[in-house]
């Protein structure tokens, strides 16, 4: 694996275009969590011509619904959820200025096309490493939709949040590249 790259937010298109598939990164700054119900709500608001409660320009979205924080902790366990469930909403959301997405699992072709168009990078965090990932989160502030509980839109202040570039701005896809050398099965 290549050397670890440190990234600071805001995450601009310029920063995004410098990254390549397979890069291991540590993210410091703020990232914004949103998942199924919040995506549905935001896209419905946009369809009605309303303004979103969050300015997504140069932001990173993290597909997350954490466990409740124990007393004294900023957040509970907080690993990534499956990104593919957000695919239906993603091209619309990328048009709002998001430049980085953090989640796990493969993406739809139309998402990858939108990533190329807007210069967006997709990062994977390790699925199920939720207690470990929590160590890199210093602050958790709900920004919108508090009624959604763990699905609320929230700002996470992170230091050295570990992730890997799995689809870059050119559409190179680590989920395909990474599996091929180890596929010995004859289908």
């Amino acid at each position: 694996m290549a050397e670890t790259i440190r990234i600071e937010t805001p995450f601009t298109e310029e920063k995004s275009r410098k990254l390549h598939v397979g890069d291991s990164v540590l993210i410091t700054g703020t990232i914004i969590s949103a998942r199924d119900a919040a995506h549905k709500r935001m896209c419905e608001a946009l369809a009605r011509g309303e303004k979103l409660p969050v300015d997504w320009t140069d932001q990173m979205v993290y597909y997350l619904g954490p466990t409740p924080a124990k007393p004294g902790d900023p957040i509970g366990s907080c690993g990534p959820t499956t990104s593919g469930r957000m695919d239906a909403y993603t091209p619309t959301m990328l048009a709002q200025g998001i430049k980085g997405m953090i989640g796990k699992g493969s993406r739809a072709p139309e998402v990858i096309e939108a990533m190329k168009k807007y210069g967006v990078t997709y990062f994977a965090a390790v699925g199920g490493a939720a207690a470990l990932i929590a160590k890199s989160v210093k602050k958790y502030e709900v920004l919108a939709y508090p009624d959604l509980g763990p699905e609320a839109v929230a700002r996470l202040t992170v230091v050295d949040f570990p992730a890997i570039v799995v689809i870059d701005c050119e559409g190179n896809n680590f989920y395909e590249i990474g599996q091929k050398p180890y596929r010995t099965l004859k289908l």
Binding site: K70, V126, G149, I164, L187
Partner: protein, 280 residues
């Protein structure tokens, strides 16, 4: 007749929920470490290192291993000579789930209705409860926390007898290849063969309760478990980003079926094959 108070059941279920969320079964932890030793992909090794470290942090600090603390599946074996007093059995179990998820800072992930009004119930109830009446006067409770990243990738195939062993292998592999990197591999794969469609699905859930290092008691099924594991580990799926450790185990449970049928259900579990058991 032996009596047991419903409150005891509630307390037991609450503890099982918390323990399952924090403490990965030892056999799964050991299987992850063995996977790390043999993994050929450098990125796969990085992923497995994080997963192993995560298990250690969760256990040492009583933290949920994964933020998806699952839908709660509860398997009850009620001795027919046991009398439950002070409340209804299912109410006691659901009270235990609510207590465990609240006290344990676990995520509440259940909506009361699936399609038109997906409102979170706020305490992870109701659980999915399976009750079996057995001989004796004991109550055996097994709690399994089923995450939905992997549940969404599970599947069922209604094969016919002529499909045979090769058909079963093909069906399982199709489901696994379709799941690919998404269910948080390395997976634990539960397979249910036989029964009706619903029975096969239940058998595949029960299969996940068996330790990953214990093979089916019937040699032909044990051999099929090993062959399927070998095939799955040749898919390249690996620990999420490609590699050789795609699954930690394949557990098969089987049951009698109809002369015309060969149902095969596959419940995919992520590496967090979380379940705990107690006897009251």
């Amino acid at each position: 007749m032996r009596e047991i108070d419903a409150k005891q059941i509630t307390e037991a279920v609450a503890k099982l929920c918390k323990d399952a969320a924090y403490y990965l079964p030892d056999d799964v932890y050991e299987a992850l470490k063995r996977g790390r030793e043999t993994e050929k992909s450098p990125v796969g090794c990085v992923v497995l290192d994080q997963i192993i470290k995560n298990a250690e942090i969760a256990k040492a600090e009583d933290r949920p291993y994964c933020q998806d603390t699952g839908m709660t599946i509860v398997f009850l074996e009620v001795g027919q000579d046991l009398h439950i007093t002070g409340g209804l059995l299912e109410d006691a179990v659901n009270a235990g789930i609510a207590k465990g998820y609240t006290e344990g800072y676990l995520r509440k992930s259940v909506v009361s209705e699936p399609l038109f009004n997906r409102k979170n119930t706020g305490n992870n109830t109701p659980g999915v409860i399976y009750t079996k009446i057995v001989p004796g006067d004991k109550l055996n409770i097994t709690v399994s926390l089923k995450g939905f990243g992997s549940e969404n990738k599970s599947g069922i195939k209604m094969l016919v007898p002529a499909d045979g062993v090769e058909g079963v292998k093909k069906a399982v592999l199709e489901i696994i290849l379709h799941a690919s990197c998404n269910p948080c591999p390395p997976m634990v794969v539960g397979v249910g063969i036989g029964g009706t469609m619903d029975r096969a699905a239940l058998l595949s859930k029960k299969a996940l309760l068996r330790p990953t290092n214990v093979r089916n008691a019937k040699p032909e099924y044990a051999k099929l478990e090993e062959e399927l594991l070998d095939l799955i580990n040749q898919t390249g799926i690996g620990p999420q980003l490609g590699g050789t450790t795609s699954a930690l185990a394949v557990n098969i449970e089987w049951g009698p079926t109809h002369i015309a049928g060969l149902p095969v259900a596959v419940t995919i579990c992520c590496h967090a094959d979380r379940h705990k058991h107690c006897e009251l």
